[in-house]
Symmetry: C2
Subunit: 401 residues, 2 copies
């Protein structure tokens, strides 16, 4: 295993402020955060000690390929990462994150956050999630032999309930507003390591986006170049920031000469980042209208997302459920079935496609189609095995005898 070059935690609120690498500051930057606004931290590395050939490592698989520029990977992996870029025509590529161990991008984050828990000797982890984040955390905790507590919502899709329970976690569905106070209390009284957010505006775990940045490494390794733009389904913006950071690092290392424009793709039912841009504030807070994009529709944004969109020359984009459904249908009819939130990248791309210049474009698809609320609700009724009726149905579908 390649040694980690991670050295300190650095504040995004004031980049001159650094803290020791451990323990991870899961309550945000102590030096710059206020009661209304929490600034995240990120990990800084001894980049000048990196050996040549980083982008094409001969050894390691999955995230382990990139261990030098990740926090210490103390937790055992599940071969997360190394997901394919699937061609979607006209210079458009889909980064298929449903091909991870728990079938979402969250595995990249949780390999890093559960590694932190193992590294500091925490007696377990705790996470507030009703979806991919929680299931992925539970899987990595199980693999590391750590207990995992998941504060979920009773309103989660039925399949997701099975998903969360499968890995042997303690799943506690509680009212949504109670999840974060309970999580803080579990952290304080039981000493469990939190792998999801604890702060008023989103900061999350400082090691989480480090896992996501490997997506940028893989894109450059597979495409052989930097895309012109990347479209990212965006809730809190951890994925968005992580991918951006990966490109920035490759530029700093001289592997590539530029970084792509980063577009945040939110649900219009709750688009706090777009609201933050409109208001000129570091983060945003909104009321979330009813919608089906439950993995991304968030009432609050994180500062990281603003930095990535601003510094990359991107823009905050939003899509309605109807636009998400249209994008999801296009993808499924190209053989790629994703949950509705995962289609936000393509939906966002469609809103600005005409204004983009030359060069390949990557949309990140985060998760498989099994997790939506509508799954399993519409079983097809049995037909009588009556040939004339079936023949007519096939003809109506455009088939010819």
């Amino acid at each position: 295993m390649t040694a980690s070059l991670a050295r300190v935690q650095r504040s995004l609120g004031d980049p001159d402020l650094t803290y020791p690498l451990f323990p991870p500051l899961t309550a945000g930057c102590p030096g710059t955060s206020t009661d209304e606004l929490a600034y995240p931290l990120e990990v800084d590395y001894a980049y000048d000690e990196l050996s040549a050939g980083f982008i094409n490592p001969a050894r390691g698989s999955g995230l382990d390929r990139w261990a030098a520029l990740l926090p210490p990977l103390a937790a055992p992996g599940l071969e997360e990462g190394a997901t394919p870029l699937v061609e979607a025509g006209d210079g458009l590529w889909i980064k298929d994150e449903s091909r991870n161990p728990t079938w979402s991008h969250k595995d990249r984050l949780n390999r890093c956050t559960v590694s932190a828990a193992v590294h500091i000797g925490a007696p377990g982890i705790v996470v507030a999630s009703s979806g991919n984040h929680g299931a992925s955390a539970a899987a990595y905790a199980a693999r590391a032999g750590l207990p995992c507590v998941v504060f979920a919502s009773a309103g989660m899709p039925p399949a997701v309930s099975s998903f969360l329970q499968a890995y042997g976690a303690v799943v506690l569905p509680v009212p949504a507003a109670a999840r974060w106070p309970l999580m803080r209390r579990v952290v304080e009284e039981f000493g469990l390591h939190p792998v999801s957010n604890l702060t008023v505006t989103h900061t999350g775990h400082p090691f989480g986006p480090e896992g996501y940045k490997t997506i940028a490494y893989e894109i450059v390794s597979d495409l052989g170049s930097v895309p012109a733009a990347v479209f990212v389904p965006t809730g809190y913006g951890e994925l968005l920031y992580g991918v951006w950071k990966g490109f920035v690092e490759l530029r700093r290392l001289g592997v590539v000469s530029r970084a792509p424009r980063m577009f945040s793709c939110e649900s219009r039912a709750g688009a706090p980042l777009a609201a933050a841009f409109a208001a000129g504030t570091p983060t945003g807070r909104v009321e979330v209208a009813p919608n089906d994009a439950y993995s991304i529709a968030s009432p609050v944004s994180g500062y990281r997302a603003r930095v990535a969109v601003r510094d990359s020359g991107g823009a905050p984009l939003t899509s309605t459920d109807a636009e998400l459904r249209a994008a999801a249908e296009t993808l499924a009819h190209a053989g790629l079935w994703y949950e509705l939130s995962s289609a936000a990248g393509l939906a966002g791309y469609r809103t600005v496609a005409d204004e983009l210049g030359e060069g390949p474009v990557v949309c990140i698809a985060t998760s498989s189609g099994f997790k939506d609320r509508s799954v399993g609700l519409h079983p097809a009724a049995e037909l009588a095995p009556d040939w004339p009726a079936i023949r007519d149905q096939l003809r109506a579908a455009g088939l010819q005898t």
Copy 2:
């Protein structure tokens, strides 16, 4: 794209009998099959024209890496294959086929079968399946721009119904006994290309196992050696035979010096291959008792499976639902959540583990956990956000304040 070296179809009923590569003989070997027993065909290649370095190709991703020893890949791919081997301790490896484009091993088969449909100019494909096979076929047909008709069962798990419908296929749930007669009629009257079985004992599509053999190539490429034994969830045995054929080819090519023992892992509720071995017959037919391993519990076996187990020095193994559940729980608690049928490899391995000699062992896990009947049936009830009660629940789970 590397050119295919596929040359002829060869009968498994009489290996001296060959037929042109196209059209694929989807009704089994015309020269050796009888009304009671159908012999499959397989593809033969110009092995002596293969260039050196086959096992470590510099170009191509997914199945395209191995295009020389596959039928012509005329249908566009979805980056199927290249799935990881996940360590499970003590020399045991899990080949995680849930990491494919539609989250099962079936994508390897359908890339090849839909390619056949494209190659011969078929107006569409038809498949009888209530699960992974049908969804995968629908995805590859969609990607190739071909209509797809799926004859399903009304009793399929609810999530699987959504899965089949997602890709835009015409899904027709009909009584189980009517599926094959209807499928044959659709083939005859509409000219659709069948990508699942049409014969009395199972032969399936002659190109299907060719896709599966890439699993053997990947195992050798990743392990750097041949495993001592491979344990394969077995319904009709196409996967089993395909993986075996891949090892045999590598031995023939001098890439490896031996092939592993192949163990078929059936559901004890319906184990026609074990019955065939017990009776000394080429294939078996059994009554299937009620069970939850719906992806493998089959009333009829195929001749291919018998050949693979016999020629490799393996054995036919069976497991009860309870043994499958225990194996699935072990895997989930190691971070790997599969459908019940997918745990048959590990369950089978456990029945003979003590008798195996030295050397790594691979269990093939075929598909993700989202597809079982029990998924979504047991949502957790909401708890009051009452700290003392939650604290007690965490203590009961072994956590300490």
